[in-house]
């Protein structure tokens, strides 16, 4: 299974990391989790978009395809 960390940006979205959940090293996963946590700390929110789940998450899930979404505000 392939896990992904993507983020919305000016050019649509960007793939920050992609990993094989069976073979990824714990160190690499730690790095990706840190990147995830930094964005969450900055006010971004995250959703698990694997298989159209579309649920918001607060914790990093190594088995998910995660989309990071920038802070939102009223227009």
């Amino acid at each position: 299974m392939i896990g992904k960390l993507r983020m919305i940006c000016t050019s649509g979205d960007k793939l920050l990391a992609e990993w094989d959940t069976e073979t990824v090293s714990p160190e690499r996963l730690k790095e990706i989790e840190q990147e995830f946590n930094e964005k969450i700390a900055q006010g971004w929110f995250a959703a698990d978009i694997s298989e159209k789940k579309s649920v918001l998450i607060r914790e990093f899930d190594p088995n998910a395809e995660i989309l990071l979404i920038p802070r939102v505000q009223g227009g």
């Binding site: 979205d13 989309l67 939102v72």
Partner: protein, 136 residues
């Protein structure tokens, strides 16, 4: 950003939205140009090109418009993704975050509007009588 880059970004965001939406919602977007999301508080009509309509759960009547923006510039379909995910998962947060422009007048029935008009006419008439009486 050049026009080409802008179009590429827009298409990429559109495909991401497609990946996230259920098939029925994607078809609706393709056919009607909007997606409808049912919440616990209201129903929502999200459009790529205009503010989100908030509709009464039972009557379907338009009660407000909502405006939500991403804090970084991104294609409009990305804003739709954010709105869809928030409404689906955290509707109260959506209400607290988005700018909501209520359409209270639309909620009044024609009978109430008629009574308001009659009351206003009676008030103007009374004012006219008082002033006329005062002058003479």
């Amino acid at each position: 950003m050049t026009d080409d880059e802008h179009e590429r970004a827009k298409e990429k965001a559109r495909q991401l939205l497609r990946q996230i939406l259920p098939e029925s919602a994607w078809s609706e977007l393709e056919n009607k140009g909007v997606i409808q999301v049912g919440g616990k508080r209201s129903n929502y009509v999200i459009s790529p090109y205009s503010q989100t309509e908030i509709r009464n759960l039972s009557s379907g009547r338009l009660v407000a418009y909502a405006c939500l923006q991403l804090s970084t510039p991104a294609p409009t379909y990305d804003r739709m993704i954010a709105e869809y995910l928030l409404i689906k998962n955290a509707e109260d947060v959506y209400w607290k975050t988005a700018s909501i422009f209520r359409r209270d007048w639309n909620e009044l029935g024609i009978d109430v509007l008629f009574l308001i008009a009659v009351d206003f006419a009676l008030f103007v008439n009374m004012l006219r009588e008082v002033l006329f009486h005062h002058v003479h």
